[in-house]
């Protein structure tokens, strides 16, 4: 299941960029508290409407693309493994799209909000969320966004998407969210 813009991109350039970002294996599970799902549910993309779309229907570098559900730029979340700050391979393509957009729109700014699951200390989780936001910031920087366009901050465990206790929920809360100018 792939986002459609890959067909619009140069695959060669993509692979170069992916290599530049690095794609390390996820850090080993350190929590004796729970077993972790490696495929968070939230990455399921709504592929059905996308299949019918003409590639010319939107300009991937336009600001309208940010909110266009056909554009990968409308996807704003990167999910992380437990106690890990490594951007997983499955999110590299999404970061490429946002990095290109920021490079093409140098006046746009982005606030990257890192998040953590609820287990443990609030302040330590704030620092973990910061590492996730930083990982996204560094990747976007390598992909062409300028340092001055980006601010990486953390919301720690304070703004969970999901409030149940359990791995399925926690995996949705270990997240980096990308907000553009006007959205924060």
């Amino acid at each position: 299941m792939r986002a459609p813009f890959i067909s619009l991109s140069s695959l060669a350039a993509l692979s170069v960029l992916l290599a530049a970002c690095g794609s390390q294996p996820p850090a080993p599970e350190q929590s004796p508290a729970g077993v972790e799902s490696r495929s968070p549910g939230a990455i399921k993309v709504d592929t059905a409407p996308i299949a019918q779309v003409q590639p010319e229907a939107f300009d991937p570098a336009s600001i309208a693309a940010l909110k266009d559900p056909r554009s990968p730029l409308s996807k704003r979340s990167i999910y992380f493994d437990y106690d890990s700050y490594v951007v997983k391979d499955e999110f590299q393509a999404l970061l490429v799209a946002h990095g290109k957009f920021l490079a093409a729109n140098p006046k746009m700014k982005m606030l990257i909000q890192g998040n953590a699951d609820e287990r443990g200390s609030r302040e330590y989780n704030l620092a973990l969320g910061q590492k996730r936001a930083d990982a996204v910031r560094k990747a976007l920087n390598l992909l062409g966004a300028k340092e001055t366009q980006l601010e990486a901050v953390s919301l720690g465990e304070e703004k969970p998407m999901c409030t149940e206790s359990g791995e399925e929920c926690w995996s949705k809360n270990r997240r980096g969210d990308m907000l553009y100018s006007g959205e924060f």
């Binding site: 443990g120 200390s121 609030r122 302040e123 590492k131």
Partner: protein, 429 residues
């Protein structure tokens, strides 16, 4: 003591009546779930004089002493004035080691004069007889001062009944930074917000709270003056700003900033000026807390691969090496040195459970003080006797307190809301 005024953000559209009933339901209730092994038997007789005030005073004093877990209340049998000789033989038969009596009289200016006498029953000796001039509105505060007096005379350490606690109440879509008396009464909101508020920390003089608010869509450290309700930004750099801790002299704050990369320790002046790096690591350094003598800052760091507690000498300059403090287990966080600097409360993960632990810093011996699983944010009472912390029961956030010997236990909860992030204020001078 003048009554504190708090800046309130009033709910738009809410009626005064609705606010009153909200406040009544939101008060912390304290439940005693464990007591000390050798509780001192003490009789607090009904006070004589102005009847309604006298009864209210004695009942608050009794509740305070009982809640401390260090006393067993004995029925005094009959009212006792401060200038009357207690019925020592009868009190001895009832098993009381100490007795307090008092009298409340109306003063000419509309205030009350309350005189108290505390006596040692076996020795038949007076331990003290303080007097208090107070208004009707200061009734609870006066009772807490009487309880502090009795506590200090009988235990040799200062009482904390007159102190205040800060905590955060989360209800649907709303966060309130609250301040209440140590018994949970008199709660007032210092700040209400739609965005989270965490990490409140009392200034050493009890006049200000530093905290982290997310109202700017990112964590920013504020210092809030409680008397005026005014606040200022103490740290708002690019990135995250969090984990404020006051220096013992109240002039500086240790904070965690990410302006130069990952979460690292800095010191700023309380007005936000003069930012200075304290420690350097390639990973996470957070949760700073000064030692009471001001020599060290304890903090959490993952520099060794897992989160552990370290300390660094502040006077030694940036070059001084950090010293690791915790070694057992793979997750030890949130260091809180005791007021005497001899022990360290922190949160340890044991078999997936996050529990309050206490380490003797001289021997490094560590004791787990709770049997709960989601303990957070410990905060010492200013006399070091109790540790207040946040935990969870039935999926709801509550506060709990445990004595440093693990025997006395209390639960503090609010109906239908999550309570978290407790911070016990300093002694009232």
């Amino acid at each position: 003591m003048p009554a504190m005024k708090f800046h309130r953000l009033v709910l738009a559209g809410a009626t005064g009546l609705a606010l009153c009933s909200l406040a009544a339901h939101a008060q912390l209730t304290v439940e005693i779930t464990g007591a000390g092994a050798n509780r001192l038997p003490v009789a607090i007789a009904d006070f004589t004089g102005e009847r309604i005030v006298a009864q209210a005073l004695a009942s608050v004093v009794r509740a305070d002493l009982e809640r401390s877990g260090l006393f067993r209340l004995v029925d005094a049998g009959s009212p006792l004035a401060d200038n009357a000789t207690p019925p020592f033989e009868d009190l001895k038969t009832r098993g009381a080691d100490a007795v307090a009596g008092g009298n409340v009289s109306a003063a000419a200016d509309g205030r009350y004069e309350t005189r108290v006498r505390l006596s040692d029953v076996p020795k038949q000796a007076v331990l003290g007889n303080p007097a208090y001039l107070h208004t009707g509105a200061q009734l609870r505060a006066t009772a807490h001062r009487i309880a502090d007096f009795i506590y200090e005379k009988l235990t040799g350490e200062p009482g904390v009944f007159s102190t205040r606690i800060a905590y955060v109440v989360k209800s649907t879509g709303r966060y309130e930074l609250k301040i209440a008396d140590a018994d949970g009464s008199n709660d007032q909101a210092a700040l209400a917000s739609r965005e989270p508020i965490i990490s409140p920390a009392w200034s050493p003089d009890g006049g200000k709270l530093a905290y982290v608010s997310f109202e700017a869509k990112k964590p920013v450290v504020y210092v809030h003056d409680l008397a005026s309700g005014r606040r200022h930004v103490a740290a708002n750099f690019k990135g995250s700003n969090s984990a404020p801790a006051w220096s013992p002299d109240g002039k500086q704050l240790a904070v965690v900033l990410t302006k130069d990369g990952s979460s690292q320790l800095y010191i700023v002046n309380a007005d936000g000026s003069g930012v200075m790096r304290v420690a350097t690591s390639s990973g996470i350094d957070t949760e700073p807390r000064w030692s009471p003598d001001g020599q060290f800052v304890y903090f959490t760091s993952d520099r060794g691969g897992s989160p552990q507690i370290y300390r660094i000498a502040i006077s030694g300059g940036a070059a001084s090496p950090a010293e690791r403090v915790t070694f057992e287990g793979s997750y030890n966080v949130t260091p809180r040195p005791s007021p005497d600097g001899k022990s360290l409360a922190f949160i340890a993960r044991n078999n997936g459970r996050f529990q309050l632990a206490l380490m003797d810093l001289a021997t490094k011996q560590t004791q787990i003080l709770t049997d709960s699983a989601k303990d957070e944010s410990p905060s010492f009472a200013p006399n070091g006797r109790m540790i207040l912390y946040a935990t969870e029961i039935g999926g709801r956030g509550i506060l709990a307190a445990v004595s440093s010997d693990g025997r006395v236990k209390q639960k503090l909860s609010v109906q239908a809301a999550d309570v978290r992030e407790p911070a016990w204020g300093p002694l009232v001078r």
